[in-house]
Symmetry: C2
Subunit: 251 residues, 2 copies
């Protein structure tokens, strides 16, 4: 049986990317695509992403909007040792809690940085909002943290990825979204009509159409059929294949 009788559990997430350098274009974000693919793979549906500047009011507002709306919120950026790293303070403000040096985080830094090396700047990285639990990682000493449904991670991709690996086993996940990609060998405009009919006939299957340029034949289209239910996916996929065969014949 395919489970069509029970609605699949859906676990949602929002992502908040924090950093002037992304908005100025100086740094090209590599985390959105990575996190999107990662969450899809483990059965969490990323519903919204926001990118905001290193400004407390902007971070607090976006965080409050996302954390009330989705099961989980992930943030990247702004947890380093410099004055422009204000994410932890903004998160504390959004949750209405105090922020202080976390003994476990201080111990981690002490084990890594001796004597004068553990200066006030580095100690900033041990400041965690009250109630926060550390997110360890194998790349750097400074931890991220989880508070409520919010996971605060580093902006450096290798560190962020290690943090995501650390938290993934603790996340509730839903039925995985299954997807099949069909190469149309036709232009989007040639299949738009019949594809819309198929989408209407399969309302619980998501059907996306993505044009691309094919070096051999010019404008081409990928059709992506998505569903949490294998039987529904197969039915919609078959309908698209039949339609494509007819369209190609007529071209």
């Amino acid at each position: 049986m395919t489970g069509t009788s029970e609605p699949a559990q859906i676990v949602t997430a929002g992502l908040l990317v924090i950093g002037d350098e992304i908005l100025s274009g100086r740094t090209k974000d590599k985390n959105i695509g990575y996190i999107a693919e990662y969450l899809t793979t483990i059965g969490i549906e990323l519903k919204e992403v926001r990118v905001v500047a290193d400004e407390e009011a902007a971070i607090v507002e976006a965080l409050n909007a996302l954390k009330s709306r989705y099961c989980y919120v992930f943030t990247t950026g702004g947890i380093g040792p410099t004055h422009d790293d204000i994410t932890a303070d903004a998160v504390a403000k959004a949750f209405g809690v105090s922020i202080d040096h976390h003994p476990e985080a201080v111990a981690l830094l002490r084990a890594r940085f001796g004597g004068a090396e553990l200066n006030q700047a580095r100690m900033r990285m041990a400041r965690i909002p009250a109630g926060g639990e550390l997110i360890r990682n194998k790349v750097s000493t400074a931890p991220g943290f989880r508070i409520g449904n919010v996971f605060v991670m580093a902006g450096v991709p290798t560190i962020m990825q290690a943090m995501l690996d650390f938290v993934a086993p603790t996340l509730k996940t839903g039925a995985k979204m299954l997807a099949e990609t069909l190469r149309a060998d036709a232009r989007e405009g040639d299949i738009g009509g019949p594809l819309a009919d198929i989408a209407k006939a399969h309302p619980e299957t998501m059907i996306g159409s993505y044009p691309f340029f094919d070096d051999k034949r010019g404008p081409n289209t990928n059709i992506v059929v998505r569903s949490r239910d294998p039987a529904r996916l197969a039915a919609a996929k078959a309908a698209v294949e039949t339609m494509l065969a007819k369209v190609r014949e007529a071209l």
Copy 2:
């Protein structure tokens, strides 16, 4: 004179990326970084980015938030010929206006697609909210459009880029943000304290600190000093250089 006596005019923008394929991770967005860099170069400050799914309510909500907040809003995605292209309808809804086939857009499509080729699906691409003006491009026939302070562009990077070139000369721009990058040759944690002091002493200059991994010496840091005022930029840059020389001597 450097213009410090008059406050520089600031022109802000928001960006709305529309597409399930970005949120599923299937397609990695290439437009955010491009648009961010482009706007910075011409003197427009990108303040916020949102990525939402192909869902009308989500698009309308994000659009209303961004268009009331920033001078300009740019959108990418969802203006093709298939059923999942719902951006034009969502924009019409956000502005509370009707939507219909735009004569100029229809003429463009007619010139390109003969007879039966100009089917209902392709005609979708000529549907423009009332009051919208076309955004032409040299790559594809189907236009984007501008309505109020919102610029609706394609999701395919080459087409979006051509549309941005088309609209750029019509945009009001502010004083350009100037930036200087200084390679610290020190770890972020070693410069965090003195850098914070410099940031405090130069409140109208933005100073960002970005760690990176240097193959030769390991953890390293780029410091980016930004200001619209050349004199302020130079003063903050000089302060950072003096500080870095001292820190390196002590290491």
